[in-house]
Symmetry: C2
Subunit: 419 residues, 2 copies
């Protein structure tokens, strides 16, 4: 008898009609002859509503109490799902993170799972029960309730799949799979049947909002096969995520992504002394400010200074602004520029390893459309370029065409060509 | 240093503004130099909303999953209250029933508390923390979440007060105390400064919706002083509930209550055989149908039968109707009458013990107003009469006047005199 872990996101359990639909998806897998562990997120807007309540009380809540508050969301959806499965004639039991024994670090709102107890869930599965587990939550020392932070429910599902040696972990949401590009922008983007963990990680990091990279990182060392699929089209198998070694690499580029959520910062005329850059990024790191692309110009200015540019999330701008004085004290910059009108376009593909010329083709393609590249960053299987935001959509279309990601001649490239 | 347990009901924590108000009530007690344990109910309509969701899924939910669902309500309100207290500069920690160690029977939706662990709460109090505990919930074998059923949060508060040897248990709600009669009906009803557990129990049972009898029953053997007071008038001390031995009994009758939530059932012409009544009430008990007043007429009918009349809660009528065939099989009645137009009026007072004539005065008073008495039941400190519903209000007014419960000459007795 196989074991499948299924995870249903907030939109899949947004109301009781959708919860009944999820019950059918679970029962279908059970009737296939598999044991089933189900992980659920909170219903639709529950988490937002709870956050709103907390904000009405304080702008600076204790993270412990936030975990107490937010962990109720999954407890509501999982008990309702258990009722729906029971009502449909099958037997389900819901368990909180604590009741399963999902042990985490002693840390609130962003805890990592350190261990999962298996006894209770195994016993229930052996009794023929469908086990429903609250996503996003665990328990740390002293029976304190913790939550896992962003991507937490996906991570719970994958971690359970690994701990119980499941055959597969299915992540259900309102998207039908992983696409070569965002289908809302590139109408002819193709759904991928398969993608490797590595490629999925790069795509997730550069802004394809399908799956949180944390869950993929958890699956990768265990080679746990994952499926991204739609809870509204149960017969569609979605996209399988597996190890790169199990894939045939036909094409160098698998996917495209565009990220509009970043802003560029330029620290001008930093005095060129050893350690200045280290001091700067240590300061940012100490305030939990994640930096993505970084460029330090090698061309030293005549006054023995140079510029340092980097990108941060737009949502971190307030945090960054509060650090400006400290930054000036450290690096004695002449100016700090903030550029919000940027888009990061990326191509990803495990097949680009050892295939030179992919980067050159990307830069060429952009240049042919007169799109200026402001920054570049690369990994083994990814190339990202920062461009002006107004050209993000055009860049998407010309790059998808150039790297055969759109599956059809594109008729709808609009004439937003730059002057 | 003293220890006070405070309990705040659903209306007291109905929104975030009210939660901030509760935080002030808690801090006020802390600034009085006391340690404080706070018990909270779910916010306003949270429980109703959760029940609505479950009803959309099934009419017959598993009680285990209902407990999983409903116990989230208190977890939300307690974490928000902890944030509000922290925001006001004091230090609070919220704990679920499980985290405290409120052990209950292995039973869902109506579990009784069997033990309370004190170590964790004591440690937090010794650190100067205000401890907030989820009302209404506990944990049984296998770390299963249980709820305590009706009156559960009041009971949690009193049980904690007893377990920790508190100086007092304050029950805050939207009423200002215990009144001699319902102030919405008897405008001049007086708030009592003190009342005994025994009297409070009788008043609670006969329909004064101030306090659930279960909490009073829990307090009584421990002689735990309770206060019923308003969360919106913090300077008002409300009503103190203490042992009858600590009270001076000046008046034979302390309070009046009118209960409109019952209906009368008459089983006509039951064959007068030994055990017939026992069979009837065993059947009702086996279906969890609580019976209140019971009268079996001693006057045997000419055909060797007599009538059995009793009252049940109006909300149990459907359940009762489903039993009619079984009842007919058992007692072979000629007819079963249901009378929904009744009101139960009661007077309560520990002072009526050994004071004959109180019952006679009550019957006289009703007769003088031409109010017919349909059934009577009594305890040591209570006399209840069933009357036609249309005379309930008039009965309230004449009885309060007769037993000096209104504190003033009543000008507003309306002329609803019966023909």
């Amino acid at each position: 008898m196989g074991l499948i872990v299924q995870k249903f996101g907030g939109t899949s359990v947004a109301d009781t009609a959708k919860i009944k639909n999820v019950a059918q998806a679970v029962i279908k897998e059970k009737l296939n002859g598999n044991n089933v562990i189900v992980v659920v997120s909170a219903m639709g807007h529950t988490t937002d509503n709870l956050l709103k309540l907390s904000k009405e009380i304080t702008s600076n809540p204790s993270t412990r109490e936030m975990d107490m508050l937010l962990s109720t969301g999954e407890q509501i959806s999982m008990s309702l799902l258990a009722m729906a499965i029971n009502e449909a004639g099958h037997s389900a039991v819901s368990l909180t993170g604590y009741q399963v024994g999902i042990k985490t670090e002693n840390c609130h709102m962003c805890a990592r799972i350190v261990d999962i107890e298996t006894a209770r869930v195994k016993k229930l599965l052996n009794e023929g029960k469908i086990v429903i587990v609250a996503g996003f939550q665990g328990v740390c020392e002293g029976n304190e309730i913790t939550t896992l932070g962003r991507g937490g429910s996906d991570t719970t599902a994958v971690a359970l799949a690994c701990a119980f040696g499941a055959d597969r972990c299915d992540i259900y949401s309102d998207v039908e799979g992983v696409y070569t590009a965002d289908p809302r922008v590139i109408k002819t983007a193709k759904k991928l049947d398969k993608i490797s963990y590595e490629e999925m990680l790069e795509l997730a990091r550069v802004g394809a909002n399908v799956l949180h990279p944390r869950s993929v990182e958890t699956a990768k060392p265990y080679k746990m096969p994952m499926r991204v699929r739609s809870s509204f089209k149960l017969d569609d198998l979605g996209t399988l995520i597996i190890g790169v070694e199990e894939m045939e690499l036909n094409k160098p580029v698998t996917g495209f992504a565009c990220d509009n959520s970043q802003i560029r910062i330029v620290i001008c005329d930093v005095v060129d002394e050893p350690g200045n850059a280290a001091k700067l990024f240590n300061l940012l790191a100490s305030k939990d400010l994640s930096v993505d692309m970084i460029i330090q110009s090698y061309a030293r200015h005549s006054n023995n200074t140079n510029d340092i540019a980097f990108t941060i999330a737009k949502s971190d701008l307030d945090k960054f602004n509060s650090l400006k004085d400290d930054i000036n004290n450290i690096v004695k910059a002449s100016n700090i520029l903030v550029d919000e009108d940027i888009a990061k376009v990326s191509i990803v593909g495990a097949g680009m390893i050892d295939r030179p010329g992919i980067a050159a083709k990307m830069f060429d393609t952009l240049a042919t459309s007169n799109i200026n590249i402001k920054m570049i960053s690369t990994s083994e299987i990814k190339i990202s370029c920062l461009v002006e935001k107004q050209y993000g959509e055009l860049a998407a279309k010309v790059l998808c065409r150039a790297f055969d990601l759109d599956g059809a001649a594109i008729a709808d490239v609009k004439g937003d060509l730059p002057d």
